[in-house]
């Protein structure tokens, strides 16, 4: 089971956090701080896995973003790397050549996509096609909705 997933930039800015275990807010902040520091200090050719507290950390860097997951001792590290990759593929397909800015400005979408891939820290759907289909049907429901107010259109809302 995945315990949490963190996305952060090379500058150490947190871009997305998803917790599958209930930690107090203070602990979350502490874990995030420690992991960001640990991982940013590692060199490129190093192993993508590290033992940390009583769990394992699997991380990978895509362009300027680090994707970092904590999994349990018995979980499969290599496949966790591929969960990360699948998530990146999905983001890429959805945004079309995804970059960090897409995730910053559309963080809610990034969450929705992640929720289709993983539930409760377990993989729900591994088929890329099926996940994209689910997201598309969500977007379809939005198409009919009314446009925004005048002020908001002009960025004044």
């Amino acid at each position: 089971m995945m315990l949490f997933m963190l996305l952060f930039s090379r500058q150490g800015k947190l871009r997305l956090q998803k917790w599958y275990m209930a930690y107090p807010d203070k602990t979350k902040k502490k874990i995030t701080r420690e992991l960001v520091t640990t991982i940013l200090a590692r060199k490129p050719k190093m192993c993508s896995f590290l033992e940390w507290k009583d769990c394992k950390i699997v991380y990978k860097r895509y362009a300027s973003l680090y994707f970092c997951c904590a999994i349990e001792q018995n979980d499969n590290e290599l496949l966790t790397l591929e969960i990360i990759h699948r998530y990146v593929e999905l983001l890429d397909k959805y945004f079309g050549s995804v970059c960090e800015l897409d995730i910053i400005f559309n963080f809610e979408k990034a969450y929705f996509i992640l929720d289709e891939l993983l539930i409760g820290g377990e993989i729900q759907e591994t088929s890329k096609k099926n996940v994209l289909k689910a997201i598309a049907s969500q977007d379809l429901l939005q198409e009919d909705e009314t446009p925004q107010s005048f002020f908001d259109d002009h960025g004044l809302g």
Binding site: Q17, A22, K29, K43, K45, M46, C47, S48, F49, L50, E51, Q73, N76, E77, L78, L79, L81, E82, H85, R86, F95, G96, C99, L101, D102, I104, F105, N106, F107, E108, K109, Y111, F112, D115, I119, G120, E122, I123, Q124, E125, T126, S127, K129, N130, A134, S137, Q138, D139, L141, Q142, E143, E145, P147, Q148, S149, D152, D153, H154, G155, G157
Partner: protein, 934 residues
């Protein structure tokens, strides 16, 4: 950036841009606060917001939260969004609830109601949104509310596949927090049969659920084994085109495969049925075969997915530990990975091999890779990989290769990363002991450890070498010779001095024949290190010296000289001082025979398992390879050490309570203590516990009701004196802390205990003091007090410090009662009685009758009243024995007039005390303070 589909929220984008354009953290915080204020006013405003605006603001709050700020409002608006008929609004509502889970009871009921509605929806997108939210929160409330719906959704024929997938994982999430949610009975087989579902996504999700259920109740779910084996077999033999989108970079359903392989690891043996077993072995062989095939793609995703399945298959093979052929093949495969160019693979191969090394079938195979593993330990760039190589070397070590592996680990230790040294030291120590055929080798290894990595050699390690030397006669002479040589080094580690001191004290005589290590030479060598060592090591050396007196009577005078030097005040540590003087007396008083008995060689330690192993296990629970080859089919060895049964209860000399499991830290003294019960009982008294009687402390607070200066507190360590003066509503108090002992009191820390509420009435400020109170020294601490309003009681000061390694703590009331702010008031009888009559209201009077202290002392009482701070008025009361007083309490807010009358009754030996004051609280407090004081 690509245009965003769905509906963009322009205001949100503008806000995010603003934040990104902030040049400084301060600017960012300012922008955020502005936005928070804006949102708050929108939410509070009477103009009703439409759904879109709510969504937008809730989304902004989410973004602010993700930036690391706390969000304490907006929950209600988010909950409102849940029931919106616009999907995008509902979705944002759910996201907010999921991210900022708040178990606020009012809201959770509303949330549950919304989820219930959405679960009923015919649109699977809505149902999934609800399920995801349940899984995200996963609380007990959720489990209770949905324990009926979700299992039904999972197995019903009407449910769409996408919903089933979510339902399975949602149920799993709830099962983890509330295990009773899973229905039993017929549900069991229906859940198991999800493994046969047409839809790969459903099977994948269901397998996770079943894995958790099996862990809880393996027998009930045993039926899953056959289904899992056949499903796995079909996947593994499928061509990659068969599974369409469930093939990942040419690997058929890697996630499902790994989950099925994990599921099977819950059973051992996996199955009793020969047919199923054959099919499983065939499948595992196929996986191993595929690993040898050329890759279908150069992409790392292909090899990762393929190897993920392979490693999980190897885990299952190791777990079963019953198929020698598969174990050997697995080992060869991992051996190839050891020189793969992917760091990740090398790391995982080393890890897997650690487990293989513990199987009797594959242990020899693993050993074939020893050279490569040693190279990994030395050459890998990543410390976690090097660490893994060390683990594997430890696991693969046996009698045949122990000398080589231990030597390589010792060589590497010189340059090893600090982070892994301590663990390596433990491992080397364990291997050297376990596989020693010749104990001189063992002694060499441990001394090398101390030489190379002395700082990382824990007590357990050096205790253990001493135990072994004492228990093995054949190695004692060698040990003495070796430590003597090691101590020649100009700079040697303190641990070396400890081991050397102990061993020479016991066996120095074995090498005394050689003039180069004659008694005096040994003594001088040890004593040359004395001054560089910690008190604990010094104590040990003193014990060695007394042992020398027995071993080498010819150097008795030299040793007595040293004892004499350290038995006086120059030795800062009381323990050392005491030890030196007792040993000195022992050497003077006791006859040769008594000495020989008291200072006899240590008896053998009871044989027991190494305590070092326990330390290693504690360091890495569940992660230490056993270094214990399992017999096939036998349960894992139960090798938890049982060493605590032999704990040698240590002498009270060690008043600092260093837990000394082996009775080694102060060894010869220990021996003396045991023997002295029969031989030398006078000695025992001297060794008695002198520090335990903290209760002898004297608290003088009561006396300070009537005086401002004096000794407030005293015990055998500390004296606290007070000087104070008061004017109007202000006071200054000097506390003088005197250290009465011969050692510094460290971490000296006085803390004021006076609640914030009380501080509103009496404001006390305290200056900090140095944390160390040197031996015999006195320091002063200044306090200022300001009486703002009358108050009861008085502040307490809590004083904590360390004395000789033991934490000490006292609480002492400060002499800061409200009467300190009295101003004595002179008046004649007429005005006294006029005021007295005026203060006749119910709340203005207080009276107490109490027994007098024996014998009734009227002049004493008069003095006390004067000290109390009021004016004692003579010739006011017609009865000359009665005492009357007047005074004004100064507080910042007001002045409170106060009158007192104290009437003695000589026959009854009683006093009657009456207080009248213009404020009720003052009346009571003053009366309480004075009652029983005369």
């Amino acid at each position: 950036m690509a245009p965003v589909r769905g509906d963009g929220m322009r205001g949100l984008a503008v806000f995010i841009s603003d934040i990104r354009n902030c040049k400084s953290k301060e600017a960012e915080v300012k922008r955020i606060n502005k936005e928070l204020a804006n949102i708050r006013s929108k939410f509070k405003g009477d103009k009703t917001l439409d759904g879109y605006q709510k969504k937008k603001y809730v989304c902004k709050l989410l973004f602010i939260f993700l930036l690391g700020h706390d969000i304490d409002f907006g929950h209600m608006e988010a909950v409102n969004l849940l029931s919106s008929n616009k999907y995008s609004e509902k979705q944002i509502g759910y996201l907010f609830i999921s991210v900022l889970v708040n178990t606020n009871s009012d809201l959770i009921r509303l949330i549950i109601q919304s989820i219930k509605n959405d679960l009923q929806s015919r649109n699977p997108v809505h149902v999934n949104l609800a399920l995801q939210c349940i899984a995200n929160i996963g609380s007990r409330d959720m489990a209770e509310s949905f324990s009926n719906e979700i299992p039904k959704l999972l197995v019903s024929g009407d449910t769409m596949d996408v919903v089933k997938q979510s339902a399975a994982l949602c149920l799993l999430r709830l099962f983890r927090s509330s295990p009773d949610i899973i229905p039993g009975g017929e549900w069991t087989s229906r859940i198991i049969h999800l493994l046969n579902d047409q839809h790969m996504g459903v099977v994948t999700a269901a397998t996770s659920l079943i894995d958790a259920l099996v862990k809880r109740n393996p027998d009930e779910y045993k039926g899953c084994v056959n289904l899992a084996v056949s499903r796995l077999s079909r996947i593994v033999t499928a061509s990659y085109t068969d599974l369409q989108d469930y093939t990942y970079y040419f690997v058929p359903a890697p996630w499902l495969s790994v989950k099925l392989l994990r599921l099977l690891q819950n059973y051992n043996p996996v199955t009793e049925e020969a047919g199923v077993r054959a099919r499983l072995n065939e499948t595992l062989e196929t996986i191993l075969n595929k690993a040898q095939e050329p890759p279908k793609s150069k992409k790392v995703q292909h090899s990762n997915a393929k190897n993920a399945v392979l490693f999980e298959a190897i885990n299952l093979i190791i777990h079963s530990d019953s198929e020698p052929n598969l174990l050997v093949r697995a080992c060869n495969q991992l051996g190839q990975f050891l020189s793969n160019r992917e760091t990740n693979l090398r790391y995982l191969a080393l890890e897997s091999m650690c487990h293989l090394a513990t199987s009797e079938f594959s242990h020899e195979e693993v050993k074939k890779h020893q050279e490569v593993v040693i190279l990994s330990m030395k050459m890998e760039k990543d410390v976690s990989v090097r660490q893994m190589a060390v683990d594997l070397l430890y696991a693969m070590c046996d009698r045949g290769n122990a000398e080589e592996i231990v030597q390589e680990m010792l060589n590497y230790l010189e340059t090893a990363d600090y982070s892994i040294r301590e663990e390596m030291v433990l491992k080397v120590a364990i291997l050297a002991e376990k596989y020693a055929t010749d104990y001189t080798w063992y002694v060499d290894v441990i001394l090398n450890l101390i030489r190379i990595a002395g700082d990382y050699v824990s007590e357990e390690v050096w205790y253990r070498v001493i135990q072994i030397v004492i228990n093995r006669e054949e190695v004692q002479g060698y040990a003495a010779k070796t430590v003597f040589e090691a101590l020649q080094a100009p700079a040697c580690h303190e641990n070396m001095v400890k081991v050397g001191g102990y061993i020479l004290g016991e066996f120095g005589n074995l090498i005394a024949g050689d003039s180069r290590s004659a008694p005096l030479v040994q003594f001088k060598l040890l004593h040359s290190k004395y001054h560089l060592c910690s008190p604990m090591t010094r104590a040990l050396l003193l014990s060695t010296y007394i042992k020398f007196i027995n071993l080498f009577p010819e150097i008795r005078t030299n040793i007595q000289e040293v004892f004499r030097q350290h038995s006086n005040l120059r030795s800062a540590d009381a323990e050392l001082q005491q030890r030196a003087s007792e040993y000195l007396q022992l050497s003077i008083v006791a006859s040769t025979d008594v000495l020989a008995t008291v200072l006899e060689e240590m008896p053998s330690f009871p044989e027991r398992e190494s305590s070092i192993l326990a330390v290693l296990k504690k360091k890495k629970p569940g992660r230490v390879p056993e270094n214990e080859i399992r017999e096939s089919k036998s349960p894992a060895p139960t090798s938890i050490t049982q060493n605590n049964t032999h704990v040698n209860h240590n002498n009270k000399l060690n008043s600092n309570a260093n837990a000394d499991l082996l009775g080694l830290s102060t060894p010869p003294a220990n021996n003396i203590n045991n023997l002295s019960n029969s031989n030398n009982s006078a000695l025992l008294d001297v060794l008695g516990d002198i520090y335990g009687n903290n209760n002898a402390a004297v608290y003088n607070t009561k006396k300070f009701l009537f005086k401002n200066n004096g000794v407030l507190f005293e015990n055998e360590m500390l004296q606290i004196g007070v000087k104070s003066e008061f004017r109007q509503n202000l006071g200054r108090l000097g506390l003088f802390y005197g250290n009465k002992t011969q050692v510094p009191l460290t971490n000296f820390h006085p803390v004021l205990q006076w609640s914030a509420e009380e501080a509103l009435k009496l404001n006390v400020q305290m200056k900090a003091v140095e944390p160390t109170l040197e031996a015999g020294a006195q320091i002063q601490q200044l306090l200022t007090a300001e009486c703002i309003e009358d108050y009861a009681d008085a502040p307490t000061i809590e004083i904590s410090f360390r004395y000789n390694g033991t934490q000490q703590k006292f609480c002492i009331k400060l002499p800061l009662t409200v009467n300190k702010f009295f101003e004595p008031t002179e008046m004649n009888a007429e005005s006294f009685f006029a005021r007295w009559k005026n203060l006749s209201g119910e709340q203005q009077r207080a009276q107490k009758v109490f027994k007098a202290a024996q014998p009734l002392d009227l002049p004493g009482a008069r003095n006390k009243l004067i000290g109390f701070g009021m004016q004692l008025l003579d010739q006011v009361d017609p009865n000359p024995d009665n005492m009357v007083c007047a005074g004004i309490i100064h507080t910042q807010s007001q002045q409170v007039g106060c009158l007192l009358r104290l009437e003695p009754n000589k026959q009854a030996q009683m006093f009657r005390l009456t207080i009248r004051a213009s404020k009720e609280t003052v009346t009571r407090v003053i009366c309480d303070l004075l009652a029983d004081q005369f």
